[in-house]
């Protein structure tokens, strides 16, 4: 009891207006911010990969495998913040054993499993099967057995089999696009369907989430491509980079329009919550929403990319602008998630008071755990790049 009081006292001092007792402390903190951010990166990276397979955008071929592995690395970690937030991770498998079809949150387990097992792993497997067989024959010892196991001891390298691999990967990508939409659209759905919360309750939510996911995923793969390629002593393929930047630009335009539509719609509707939401946006969320999300995370990169494209800037400058823009986009999209998750809990359901979010450093919900969770996908990605190098492609050479 005393612990709770010690925890609540500083928060109480920062409350403004009237607020119900159960709204003083936010229950969805930083971990719940990270969760949609990570799933968004997965969906976005996959959409970039699908450009190659389904929409035949040959220019971005160098990032195809990289995108798939990025999606996998982030997908493996995506449920971790939820497990850390809910506690009792040992019980989480029960949602698979006794499916509750009326609970959107419970059904997410199946969406996740479908996306991981039926789409992403299968597509990566079909795409890498030939290489894994070749690597197994070229290496020795433990590595040889690892590749043999990963390829499920497959050995058929006939033209027919390779053709089938290609076809299967394409079909899986086609299935994967709606699945990726489902995966991240679901996250938006969870927030959008909370009808008691005017900041969340909007049918546009899944679509806004989806497009911000595509933006963040494309920007992430662009960053990884720009960091990893020079590190390996290779030259960055400017045609590929220009194309990715173009897609990033288009996705941002759509995302920006959708968010603007949502914003205008809210103002035009002017429901009873509009006053407190206006207070929220112009007060507690001003820096994270207007400055970081809108200005630094959206308008600055949009204008920067547009300027280098229109001015036909030299490659050196383009690379710099793309890199900085992609970084800013990451900050902006993270801020978007923050503004949705934390912002939605800062105001009282009485519409006449605001509370504050105090982030801890230690503890399961603290900053330290969050940083660890955010670093983990990159560690997994490093291992994946070592085991399944996305760069050399004997299938093509």
């Amino acid at each position: 009891m005393e612990e709770i009081i010690a925890h609540l006292t500083p928060i109480l001092k920062e409350i403004t207006g009237y607020i119900y007792p159960n709204e003083i402390e936010l229950h969805w903190g930083l971990l719940v911010v990270i969760y949609p951010y990570l799933t968004g990166l997965v969906a976005g990276a996959f959409i970039l990969a699908s450009l190659v397979k389904v929409f035949n955008v040959k220019e971005v071929q160098p990032t195809y495998r990289m995108s798939l592995l990025t999606a996998l690395a982030f997908l493996l970690i995506a449920p971790l913040p939820l497990l850390a937030h809910l506690g009792h991770p040992e019980k989480s498998f029960e949602i698979f054993l006794t499916p509750n079809t009326t609970s959107a949150m419970a059904m997410f387990g199946f969406v996740y499993a479908w996306y991981l097992m039926a789409v992403l792993l299968l597509e990566i497997w079909f795409d890498y099967r030939k290489d894994m067989i070749v690597w197994a024959s070229e290496s020795s010892g433990l590595r040889r057995w690892m590749y043999k196991l990963l390829s499920l001891f497959s050995s058929d390298l006939s033209d027919k089999a390779l053709k089938f691999d290609k076809k299967a990967a394409k079909v899986l990508t086609i299935i994967g696009i709606p699945s990726a939409f489902l995966l991240h659209g679901y996250v938006g759905f969870i927030f959008g369907s909370i009808k008691a919360n005017p900041w969340w309750s909007s049918v546009l939510m899944p679509i806004v989430f989806l497009f911000s996911a595509i933006v963040s995923g494309i920007a992430l793969v662009l960053l990884i491509y720009m960091v990893v390629t020079p590190m390996r002593g290779n030259k960055i393929d400017m045609t590929c980079l220009n194309k990715i930047a173009s897609f990033l630009f288009y996705a941002m335009i759509v995302d920006f329009s959708l968010e603007a539509l949502d914003f205008i719609h809210r103002i035009y509707e002017s429901e009873e919550s509009i006053k407190i939401l206006a207070q929220l946006v112009s007060g507690k969320l001003f820096v994270s929403l207007v400055i970081i999300q809108l200005l630094i995370g959206m308008l600055v990169p949009l204008i920067a990319i547009a300027v280098v494209k229109i001015m036909d800037a030299p490659a050196e400058l383009r690379r710099l602008v793309y890199f900085v823009s992609a970084l800013l986009v990451q900050v902006g999209i993270f801020s978007t998630r923050w503004n949705v998750v934390v912002g939605g809990q800062l105001f009282s359901k009485s519409f006449s008071g605001l509370t504050v979010y105090k982030m801890g450093f230690f503890g399961l919900e603290g900053l330290l755990v969050s940083i660890i969770i955010m670093v983990m996908p990159f560690v997994i990605l490093y291992v994946l790049f070592k085991v399944l190098p996305p760069f050399e492609n004997p299938a093509q050479s």
Partner: protein, 270 residues
């Protein structure tokens, strides 16, 4: 069922044919699909096996939960007796409480779980809180409590006396009728204290019959009904203090009543 009518040879032949067809279908599958199919089949059987092992047999009988959980809950020890049974022995107190403000408060709220006491009244006796800690759980001032609900600030309300020296919990009418409205309308009094209206006594706007203090919900005080009432002080030609803000009643948002925009207990609020 007449087994003699079955043409066993025919059935056998068809069975063999279908097995052959399945075999040739399996052979026609690409090698990698065969391997994946095996994995998928293993996974499906593993899931079925684990489900059979871990999901309780009676899960889902009534709903999305274990049916035997109900029996487990039923078999839990009963601690509370319910307020009906108290009447059997303590009829005088129950009757008194029934006509008091505390009629909605069950006996066990203060006296604690009474199931054991009702079974063996002589051996198990119930206690009631006698210190100052308990009553403020409901009656300490909190802005979210409804107006009219009696609230005190226990630090300043007769700080050394236990509540029961003045208030009988079974009929907690205060020993003296409260002189100030703030005894019950604490939230309004505190709000008004921040406003210039602090100098306006409650009865200037509300006519409160004496009986309101005794039967607060049955006899209600009046509220101003017209714009002209506020105009009594705030109108241009009102006979009031010079510092009071004035408006032209005929011009100033003439289709609205004053309290649609100004909260009378804190008119400074935006």
């Amino acid at each position: 069922m007449d087994l003699d009518n079955f043409n066993w040879e025919e059935i056998n032949k068809k069975l063999k044919e279908s097995v052959r067809a399945m075999k040739s279908f399996w052979k026609s599958l690409p090698e990698q699909v065969k391997r994946l199919t095996v994995i998928v089949i293993v996974l499906i059987f593993a899931l079925i096996f684990v489900r059979g092992l871990l999901v309780p047999a009676d899960f889902g009988k009534y709903g999305h939960y274990r049916a035997s959980a109900i029996d487990e809950i039923i078999s839990q020890e009963i601690n509370y007796a319910g307020h009906g049974i108290c009447l059997e022995c303590h009829d005088d107190i129950v009757e008194k409480k029934q006509s008091s403000y505390h009629k909605g408060v069950s006996c066990e709220v203060c006296h604690g779980p009474a199931a054991k006491h009702t079974e063996s009244p002589d051996e198990v006796s119930l206690r009631a809180p006698r210190g100052r800690g308990y009553c403020p759980l409901c009656h300490e001032y909190l802005p979210s409590r409804p107006t009219g609900f009696p609230q005190i600030v226990s630090a300043s309300h007769n700080p050394m006396k236990p509540c029961i020296t003045c208030h009988n919990p079974h009929d907690p009418k205060p020993p003296q009728t409260p002189k100030e409205c703030s005894a019950c309308h604490a939230e309004i009094a505190r709000t008004k204290s921040l406003s210039r209206h602090i100098y306006v006594p409650c009865v200037r706007c509300h006519e409160a019959p004496v009986d309101h203090k005794i039967k607060p919900r049955e006899v209600l005080p009046s509220k101003p009904q017209t714009r002209e009432f506020c105009g009594g002080c705030h109108g241009e030609d009102a006979d009031s203090d010079k510092g009071i803000p004035r408006i032209d009643l005929a011009e100033h948002y003439e289709h609205y009543t004053c309290w649609q925009c100004h909260y009378p207990h804190l008119p400074e609020a935006p």
